[in-house]
Amino acid sequence: MTIANFLLLVPLLSPKTIHIPDGFLSLGTALAAWLLAIVALAYAVARTNRELGEKQVPLMGVMAAFVFAAQMLNFPVAGGTSGHLIGGALVAILLGPWAGVLVMTAVVAVQALLFQDGGLLALGANILNMGVIASLVGYYLYIAIQKLWSKRPRLNLASAFAAAWCSVFVTSVACAVQLGVSGTSPIQVALPAMATVHALIGLGEGAITVAALAFITATRPDLVASSRAAS
């Protein structure tokens, strides 16, 4: 398909990345999510404070910038639905889990504060889901799967794909639980609905994660190696 055809098919509309808006979560759920997000953030700051080298900082900035841009690119999945990258697994695999949490938090916070994508009361839940859960699930699953393949710690793209897919799936389940607890949508309805859609979206997450990691490995293999050794 040529770009011209593609342009004709896709009307020029703004990206509609929606994160959880205010109104979807009960006050109690939103506040509990804020509390968990703040605890995780404080821990992430403490960990990176000890472990983060200044050399890694520009890479953190570049990854935050890339994730922000890539999240705008909603890709179509089945049934008139779109999905977009989260990026938590990508960033965490590259930078380690806690620097990943910080990078993702910066992205999600700017989206809420400047772009009105995601509510302010719901920001805690959005940070918890896309910042903390996606990064930690992506990272630790990547490490676990990679160990099954080989004992040597080197980048394994198949493991990264699987970890990225799971990070989206688990994040969507977390969101469904929050919607259920809030009384917005019964959990037995919200959970399968969110999980099914995001099982598809996760394939896109895996593909973009693998492409980005392959590009970085090709241009700067030392970045991948050093960050892996540091974590």
Binding site: L7, V62, S172, L179, V189, D222
Partner: protein, 99 residues
Amino acid sequence: MSKKSWWIIGLIIALAVTLLSPLASPWPDGLERVAEDQGFIALAQGSLYEVIPDYVLPLVANEAVATILGGMIGVLVVFGLTVGAGYMISRRGAEQKTS
């Protein structure tokens, strides 16, 4: 590719990605789809204030251009915020180590 220029190239790539943003699928995303199907989309509240709502920079007539500009502003703000916070955190850590 030199090590020093790598982050500049990375930032340029991120800015270039925003050029694709007008091509993004306008279909509702996963959460929005579920909210529509399950009938709770109407619960969504508007925000208290708007700066660059829906990633479209206000006062720019062409919506595609407005979206790209909105995206580029976001890329630069997120980059600046992350690098600023990253240096603050890593410097403080280095001071604690030496003291």
